[in-house]
């Protein structure tokens, strides 16, 4: 092990000794100085996770969160210098974290918070000009083959739990006692200007949006949505996306056959 790898290993593992050959400028104990540095690395990364996953922290309390995050940080130190991206696999870690097993919804709450961060940092995309869709409307026979591209900030989460309500309860929009945890919910994350929004949507809406994201044309996407949710309302769903400025491009799917 070279000295750098040894330093890194000791940084993440408190059981390891202070790396050999460390010197201090003022003659103080290198082990004590290294312990402070090791602690700061860990606590700053835990702070980063706490800033990114505030609702998860509220759900389990600060002490539990910090201890859980410390285990995660030691297993998954950052791979890039962009700390806003740190924690991409924190939800998966939570899912497999035995002490949190009695909060089965916790991982999905983390996934929702991650989608919010991604939305916040996603590229800007100007909403589609309303005229473009008005033009498309003038050729109704081609509407089924219309492709709609959605804003890069858009995120979807299909959860077996009431993630949207749970999240809303932590924004003061609901009380926790009102939340029926086992109600499956779909969350749609959008960015309107600089505001990241979390919306609860019907399963049909989620299917349509997912299909559009996969590049399916409007006709096929609508069919899928109706197959999943017979009460699916395409008009309401599109209005929602339009109002949020979430549709950014449209084009016709002329040559590509559907899978």
């Amino acid at each position: 092990m070279n000295s750098q790898a040894e330093f890194v290993a000791a940084l993440l593992d408190p059981e390891r000794d202070c790396p050999a050959d460390l010197k201090t400028w003022n003659g103080s104990d290198p082990a004590a100085r290294f312990a402070v540095y090791r602690n700061n690395v860990l606590s700053s990364l835990i702070d980063a996770l706490a800033a990114s996953f505030p609702v998860v922290q509220q759900l389990v309390g600060e002490t539990f969160f910090r201890a859980m995050a410390a285990v995660y940080v030691r297993h998954s130190p950052p791979r890039t210098r962009i700390l806003a991206d740190y924690g991409a696999d924190f939800p998966a870690f939570i899912q497999g974290f035995a002490p949190a097993a009695s909060l089965p919804y916790l991982a999905d709450v983390a996934r929702l918070e991650l989608l919010r961060i991604r939305a916040y940092h996603a590229a800007d995309a100007a909403p589609l000009d309303a005229d473009a869709l008005a033009t498309a409307l003038a050729a109704p026979e081609r509407l089924a083959s219309l492709l709609l591209r959605l804003q890069p900030a858009l995120g979807l989460l299909d959860s077996a739990f009431a993630v949207v309500s749970l999240w809303a309860a932590h924004q003061g929009a609901l009380t926790l006692a009102e939340v029926d945890l086992d109600q499956a919910q779909c969350a749609l994350v959008l960015r309107n200007g600089l505001e990241v929004e979390v919306l609860g949507i019907r399963s049909g809406d989620a299917v349509l949006i997912q299909a559009l994201l996969q590049g399916r044309p409007l006709g096929a996407a609508t069919q899928l949505a109706l197959a999943c949710d017979p009460a699916f309302d395409l008009g309401a769903c599109l209005a929602h996306l339009l109002r949020a400025g979430a549709i950014t491009h449209c084009a016709y799917d002329t040559q590509r056959p559907l899978p």
Binding site: A50, A130, N192
Partner: protein, 104 residues
């Protein structure tokens, strides 16, 4: 010609109706949104750029060494206690299950 269109159950008329309705509902607020916000560079997500929560900065607690231990026994103490749970005897008692985990 798109051959798949002939298999489409959803009629062109239905799509047109839906899109027309969507345009009608949503036409007004589109431009208003753009006008009342402006880009502000250098303003980070709340808590991301100050010392207290600034990832990567070490100005907080330079001498703390309280996270060194990796043996910890904890029960989550957050808002989960107020969260309804049909599987819990009290209807809310998420903390019970964690105690079991701790003792096992």
């Amino acid at each position: 010609m798109n051959t798949t269109a002939s298999h489409t159950v959803v009629s062109a008329a239905a799509l047109a109706l839906a899109l027309g309705a969507a345009l009608a509902i949503s036409s007004a607020p589109l431009t208003a949104q753009a006008a009342d916000s402006e880009k502000c560079f250098g303003v980070a997500l709340q808590g991301k750029n100050d010392c207290a929560a600034g990832p990567g900065t070490t100005c907080a607690g330079t001498s703390k060494i309280d996270y060194q231990g990796n043996a910890w026994k904890l029960v989550p103490k957050g808002t989960c206690e107020q969260t309804a749970s049909p599987t819990s005897p009290t209807g809310f008692g998420q903390l019970e299950a964690f105690e079991e985990v701790k003792n096992s």
